[in-house]
């Protein structure tokens, strides 16, 4: 039972990462590690989208 729940939790975490939920946390962690101030979540989200959709991202 516990193993099933851990497995499902793992799937949920992977799904969150695939959809990019954790992107801001990873970015902020990296930027703070460099000693700089990260963008706000809103600013980061918009700039990521603009970068993502300026090149082929969705196939035929």
């Amino acid at each position: 039972m516990v193993r099933a729940r851990t497995f499902l939790q793992r799937i949920w975490e992977i799904a969150r990462e695939v959809f990019g939920d954790k992107a801001y946390d990873r970015y902020a962690e990296h930027v703070r590690g460099q000693g700089e101030i990260p963008l706000t979540p809103g600013e980061f989200y918009v700039s990521q989208l603009q970068r993502k959709y300026s090149r082929p991202t969705r196939c035929c």
Binding site: A15, F19, F44, Y53, P56, R58
Partner: protein, 685 residues
């Protein structure tokens, strides 16, 4: 342990062989789809275990001790070492499009066997190899794009060929998928209401994600999905109410609506409409693909379509032409897709933590895509053949009236009655299923049949049908708006060389101008397809297939060049064999579409036959203008095909010239890889 592993692979091989044997020996009696799925699945597993491993370690020499660009250039945004399965999910979501769902449905006119064989063989030996090797090449070059690699590894001419190839393929691709959506939604108030609702739902999601919960994509997608499902359920009430006429339109009006939508979605801020729709469609797409796989395993349907039909003779109603080359051109993305090489040289290489992950991400995700194509083929075969042809055959071939259509189709040896079609249409909540070309409605009927056998029975078939239509239209429209935006960026980049302000991606006048140009280009082809009496798919889908395989040719030329430069000339057959096959298919298809004397195959022959009818005054006065436009369109299509064929020849000659120089020592190969730096990451367990 070693013996156990070997034993497992022997069992996999036996199951696969058994499945193939069942298919080969099923003379006359309908076969259960499970055999097809098992055979395909086992071949994929064997291909991954043996062939991809051979490529990975003998040819490409993937080295986990070498730092990937994600590690060396980590910036928290684009370059980011990411879990292998997350990258797999990202990459698969990016490459999974409508192609593997529509192509097999259309190719099923030859029977299920030719298409299935190509999906499996082409996938394992062609598409998966292309995706894998392109991903590897880009990985070793810090995530360079295909165009950039074509320029650096082949020549500047190679680079420009790639650039123009991509621009053209984007235009044709959007036109063709737009046509699929128009044909799925015409005269369907339920369908149009559901899809129309996805726009306000996406706007809501966009605002939620931008202002309320930035970056919380998964929960927002879940909320969006619930709302969209409510729209599917609500659509029935709208279709039965006084609002129905406001959602009932024919092809041309729908085409204009889609053109307007594409323009709006590409000029509005990306976070408002485009991105939320993309999240929603990815969520639905991944969920439905999984559900379809489970559904097929649960229902184990019988395949009613025979392995071969009489249309192997080239007289098929859905598209004209013989198996070679048109079955391969039609299936396109289900086996090999050049567009994937753009994705494989996009964001994916910048996320890989270790080189060995490229095998699962590159090779594996294409196999999964190929498997999706198999499932689409199965969904096509669960229909009675007569029903399949009645849905997919254009009125221009079988006759406009239902009575004519059933007579024609029954005369081909596929019995079907008007009553049968009327009952089916009633069951799924549509006015009619005749002349619903483009593959999407028949896929939806097949999926509804499978899902309703799992849950709900025939009472819920209408819900399942419209759910399937919503699923297809949703992610086709994402291809449309994301593609228009990409096309706009490329055009801005190109025009910026002539007048700098046009290259400024944030400058609204430039945005409006370039978006208008891109939308007009695909809008023209879309409209042409909608008014075409032969159904549009007959002319547009081969154009799409040829352009897609052109891009695959470019990718394989780049891959072959790089393999030679790596000193792996004796293994170069791995990319050269699929390349040779693709080149022969693409060139034959181009030649036939331009020069074939039969008007249903050759564009110029069709134009000539219409011109003769005009000259003999056999065209009614109210159709003269339309006929003149059809003649122009045929000639334009012939020109476009010539351009594609020329680009293929150009890249082959240019690449071949360089291979000759390298192999015979006339030119020193320079490998442009990023510097080798040892990885500091802990070794994988």
């Amino acid at each position: 342990m070693r013996y156990l592993r070997k034993a497992i692979w022997v069992v996999v091989a036996i199951i696969g062989a058994l499945g193939l044997a069942m298919i080969a020996t099923s003379r006359g009696e309908p076969l259960n789809a499970v055999w097809l799925v098992a055979a395909a699945g086992c071949i994929y597993l064997l291909g991954f275990r043996f062939y991809s491993r051979f490529i990975a370690y003998r040819i490409l020499e993937l080295n986990d001790r070498r730092a990937t660009p994600a590690e060396r250039l980590e910036d928290g945004r684009d370059f980011l070492p990411t879990n292998k399965w997350v990258v797999f999910g990202h990459h698969f979501a990016a490459i999974a499009g409508p192609g593997p769902l529509v192509g097999p449905i259309l190719a099923a006119q030859f029977g299920y066997l030719p298409g299935t064989l190509w999906i499996v063989i082409g996938g394992v030996l062609g598409g998966a190899v292309q995706d894998f090797v392109t991903l590897f090449c880009s990985l070793r070059r810090d995530g360079k794009s295909l165009g950039q690699m074509a320029k650096d590894e082949i020549s500047t001419l190679g680079g420009y060929t790639a650039l123009f190839g991509v621009l053209f393929i984007v235009i044709i691709l959007i036109a063709v998928v737009g046509l699929v959506v128009v044909n799925a939604l015409k005269q369907s108030p339920w369908g149009l209401f559901t899809i129309a609702m996805t726009i306000p739902i996406a706007l809501l999601m966009g605002i939620y994600l931008r202002w309320l919960r930035p970056g919380k994509v998964l929960e927002t997608s879940l909320l969006g999905f619930v709302l969209v499902f409510a729209a599917v359920l609500g659509g029935r009430h709208v279709a039965d109410s006084a609002l129905a006429p406001y959602f009932t339109y024919g092809g041309p009006t729908l085409a204009w609506m889609i053109i307007g939508y594409g323009f709006a979605a590409s000029v509005l801020p990306v976070w408002l409409l485009l991105a939320p729709r993309d999240y929603l469609s990815t969520f639905v797409k991944l969920g439905v693909v999984l559900a379809l796989a489970l559904g097929i395993l649960a229902v184990r349907p019988t395949m009613l379509l025979p392995p071969f039909t009489r249309f192997v003779d080239g007289t098929g109603p859905i598209f004209a032409g013989k198996i070679f080359p048109f079955c391969f051109i039609t299936i396109a993305c289900g086996a090999i897709s050049g567009f994937h090489s753009l994705i494989a040289s996009g964001t994916t290489p910048k996320l890989l933590t270790r080189e060995s992950h490229a095998r699962m991400v590159g090779y594996g995700s294409m196999l999964l895509e190929s498997f999706v194509a198999i499932m689409a083929m199965v969904a096509a075969t669960v229909l009675q053949p007569g029903v399949y042809f009645a849905i997919n055959s254009p009125a221009g071939v079988v006759g406009t009236l239902p009575a004519d259509a059933v007579a024609t189709i029954s005369s081909w040896g596929f019995p079907v009655t008007q009553q049968e079609m009327a009952e089916l249409a009633g069951k799924i909540g549509e006015v009619t299923l005749f002349n619903r070309t483009g593959g999407a409605p028949s896929l939806a009927v097949g999926m509804a049949h499978i899902f309703s056998n799992v849950l709900g029975g025939s009472r819920l078939m209408a819900i399942w049908y419209h759910f399937a239509i919503m699923f297809e239209a949703l992610f086709i429209l994402t291809v449309l708006d994301a593609g228009t935006r990409v096309g706009r960026f490329m055009l801005q980049d190109l025009l910026g060389h002539f007048w700098k302000p046009l290259g400024r991606t944030g400058w609204y006048p430039s945005i409006i101008l370039t978006s208008s140009i891109v939308v007009s280009a695909w809008g023209y082809f879309l409209y042409q397809g909608v008014v075409d009496p032969l159904g549009g798919i007959n002319s547009l889908w081969p154009l799409f297939g040829i352009s897609n395989q052109l891009l695959a040719t470019i990718a394989l030329c780049v891959a072959t060049t790089i393999l030679i430069k790596m000193g792996k000339t004796r293994y170069v057959w791995v990319t050269l064999l699929p390349l040779a096959w693709l080149a022969s298919v693409t060139m034959t298809a181009s030649a036939q579409k331009i020069f074939h004397p039969h008007p249903r195959i050759g564009f110029l022959a069709h134009a000539r036959s219409l011109a003769e009818q005009l000259a003999a005054s056999t065209i009614p006065a109210d159709r003269i203008a339309l006929t003149e436009r059809l003649i122009f369109n045929d000639r334009l299509d012939a020109v476009v095909t010539t351009v594609f064929a020329s680009l293929v020849l150009l890249i082959l000659i240019e690449s071949g010239r360089h291979w000759w120089l390298y192999v015979f020592g006339r030119k020193q190969p320079v490998l442009n890889e990023a510097p080798m730096v040892l990885s500091k990451l802990p070794a994988e367990a």
